[in-house]
């Protein structure tokens, strides 16, 4: 019962945090610099790892599809399978998981240490709302860079699949054929579905990270616990939301 109360409490405070942050939206021009910094850290600096991850996810997907589909003589459908899987599911989910591990953990650690070492209290006494100063730039930044990261991740995943199809002996599909089969089934609607998913995941991850950080009490040990809690909550949220959003989109 205590755990359920704690989860409901955290959920309620996350919703309140988002409302308070967006209430200070009129002062967005004032936070532009911090928003750009956050977009750089969360978006641009995540590109190398997202590229590597997406390339190999696409490659493995093509390889597995190749192994299964060659038995049915349907190798030409590999492009469709890789394309759709990445656009609708793996692209948004993998980029979000990476965001939870790389960005959300860092945000929680930073905000939790600011809370523990009274920097957040200092902001409050200076009449600078932490929701405006610390939370809003991060939320706006993730809304900007998440679709871009997802698109880049998807495209690199496709390329990974294309490389496998071209150079793995038992598949041997030309890139033209691979992309033709992908193009045949992919629609703009499916692409938008994937981007909507990633936008929702990104927003929730950063909100959870900020909320967990700002709710931290105690000392350095609690900062570590907060980071763990934030990443675990984010991962669970991604997977639970994924199910419901997919149901809603299908």
């Amino acid at each position: 019962m205590k755990k359920i109360n704690a989860i409901l409490d955290a959920f309620g405070s996350a919703v309140l945090l988002a409302i308070r942050a967006f209430a200070s939206l009129p002062s967005a021009p004032r936070i532009l610099k911090r928003m750009v910094e956050q977009a750089f850290f969360g978006g641009y600096a995540s590109l190398p790892i997202i590229s590597i991850l997406s390339f190999f996810i696409g490659a493995v997907l093509a390889l597995q599809a190749g192994i299964s589909l060659r038995e049915f003589g349907a190798k030409e459908l590999i492009g469709t399978l890789v394309g759709e899987s990445l656009v609708r599911e793996l692209g948004p989910v993998m980029v979000s998981i990476l965001l939870a591990g790389r960005v959300a953990s860092a945000i929680t650690a930073e905000l939790a240490s600011m809370k523990v070492y009274q920097e957040v209290d200092a902001l409050v006494t200076m009449n600078i709302p932490p929701e405006r100063f610390l939370v809003l730039p991060r939320l706006l930044a993730v809304l900007l860079y998440m679709p871009v990261l997802t698109i880049i991740g998807i495209v690199i995943g496709w390329l990974g699949g294309a490389v496998v199809c071209r150079y793995v002996g038992f598949i041997s599909i030309e890139p033209e054929q691979y992309f033709q089969s992908m193009k045949h089934f992919l629609t703009v609607g499916k692409m938008i579905d994937g981007l909507v998913k990633s936008e929702i995941f990104g927003f929730c991850i950063i909100l959870i990270a900020c909320n967990t950080g700002l709710r931290t009490r105690g000392g350095p040990r609690e900062i570590g616990f907060a980071v763990t809690r934030s990443v675990v909550f984010s991962l669970v949220t991604i997977l639970v939301l994924d199910y419901f959003i997919t149901r809603a989109q299908s």
Binding site: R30, M114, Y117, Q118, E119, D121, A122, T125, N127, F133
Partner: protein, 267 residues
């Protein structure tokens, strides 16, 4: 073109404010930290709160700053609740934290410039001159571009005071401003607190163990023990007070033959 100056504060900006604490109690779980504390701090005075460690001084200061809500009782700054954001719009309030609470991701300059920049109190040139003046008063001119992690404990404390000066507050709260400082720097900080009273027409509430500070510059002193106020009065009245607990706190005797910890063990 000179930027438009937006001042968010309303009302009488430069007047010092009074603080009224009525029947204030604060519990953390089962532990009672403040018990029925009542006091009135007059506008413009230096009010020093003293007491043994763990007596609730910093908790009282956080209540006055509006950072924590009381379990019962009220705190009012010129009749306004400090925990309400509107009150902070109305009055400039600064708190010098014991550990500084500087923003670690910002340089010393940016720490000081944050408040006027965020509240658009003046243009950048004016902010620069305000910051430089505060840094000069606290002998910190060489630390402008440093980050808090590059500063010593004493310097952090001075930067925290400089940050408060830039805010030009009407109510300035200090949490142990002279702890961890050498005697000369303690004296300097004490002088600064006294000077600010006249220069910025500020009400100062100082939590401190520093007897010299309290007896030299305080208009009034409060002694807080085990969450209760034992004494409120002028430094002269404090010196003449004969309450054994207060006498022992103000002038503790070091008795090597019969040390306190042995007496405590015996009881």
């Amino acid at each position: 073109m000179k930027k438009q100056i937006i001042h968010e504060r309303t009302g009488s900006e430069k007047n010092p404010v009074g603080v009224e604490v009525a029947n204030l109690s604060k519990n953390f779980g089962q532990q009672s930290v403040l018990r029925d504390v009542s006091l009135a701090i007059k506008p413009g005075e230096i009010f020093v709160i003293m007491g043994p460690s763990g007596s609730g001084k910093s908790v009282l200061l956080r209540q006055i700053a509006g950072l924590d809500l009381p379990t019962s009782g009220t705190v009012r700054i010129d009749s306004h609740d400090p925990a309400v954001p509107d009150t902070r719009d109305r009055f400039a309030l600064a708190l010098v934290f014991q550990a500084g609470a500087l923003f670690n991701s910002l340089t010393v300059y940016d720490n000081l410039a944050l408040y006027p920049l965020e509240h658009r109190l003046c243009d950048r040139n004016e902010i620069r001159s305000r910051v430089q003046r505060a840094l000069k008063i606290l002998s910190l001119e060489n630390a402008t571009r440093k980050y808090p992690s590059e500063l010593s404990g004493g310097m952090k404390k001075r930067v925290a005071i400089a940050r408060a000066l830039v805010m030009e507050p009407q109510l300035l709260l200090y949490d142990e401003p002279t702890s961890e400082l050498d005697p000369v720097m303690s004296a300097t900080i004490t002088e600064i607190i006294a000077t600010l009273k006249n220069e910025f027409r500020v009400t100062s509430v100082v939590v401190s163990h520093d007897r010299d500070l309290a007896l030299t510059i305080a208009d009034r002193v409060a002694i807080l023990m085990k969450g209760q106020l034992l004494f409120v009065g002028t430094p002269d009245e404090l010196k003449q007070n004969r309450d054994p607990a207060i006498v022992d706190f103000m002038n503790p005797k070091i008795d090597l033959k019969n040390p306190r910890y042995l007496k405590l063990e015996a009881t």
